[in-house]
Amino acid sequence: MNIQKLKEGFEDLIKNRNPGMLSFWIHRVTGVAVTVFLFLHIFTLSSVFRGKDAYDYAISKFDTTSGYIFQYVLLLAVAVHLLNGIRITVVDFWGLTRIQKKLLWISLLVFLVIAAVGVKTVLL
């Protein structure tokens, strides 16, 4: 029954061509991804219990090319989730359901700015 619900969910995503549906799915996927990263983050930091060298070695894994790409993807995921979350909170608390699409476009614009700045600070 739950797999059926997942299938129906994916069908909704494909058939319901609505920016709101896409933003809902992206919000969920990025939320789960960042929560999984939280586990990885705490696991990485816990290497400090094995000593300074072990901790510096674990952190140095993020100072490689793939590490920088990973951090950039993390920045994008957090930015998307944050901006969409602000939009949802604003709509929930102030009842601005009529201008949801406008808010979505504004958050997309801010996301593009963050992505552009992130290229300079993270990747380059």
């Binding site: 739950n2 789960v32 929560t35 939280l38 400090v48 000593g51 300074k52 510096d56």
Partner: protein, 163 residues
Amino acid sequence: MRRWEVRKLGISQPLSFRTSQFLVNVLCVLCVLCGELIHYKMNIEKRGFWSWFLQRITALLLVMGMSVHFFTFHFSPGRYASRYYDEIIHRFCSPGWIAFHLCLLALVVFHGLNGLWGILVDFNLSKRTNYFLRQALWFTGFVLFGVGIYILIWFATRNNSGF
């Protein structure tokens, strides 16, 4: 470490520990009062309100907290971008940063796991499965928070010369 010693090292100290604690207490009381007021005004069903409300409150606080965390630890050029052992030790001499990270850890763990709970609720699972998953999420939250606090205390209690 005395405050003048912290200033001498050139480390920024956003707030003292007492001020941070006081602000956190005030914030918690305000959240509870706001929640009760919204609950009363909206006259809504009792179940699920606090999960919904606290998810939004933690989200708003995390917007500020994560911006600071990302800027100082991950994505800023200069000396504050370093995440290696010695620099972290220097930074965690300051009680303000320790208090900040304690609060951030609690907010992130709650927001993340409450979000997972919200996804699971959408699947309309049986009462027993719901109960089991809810307990599992609470347990995971406490374990994550406990490990995080232990790591913070570990960094905070190391001296500048390392191990």
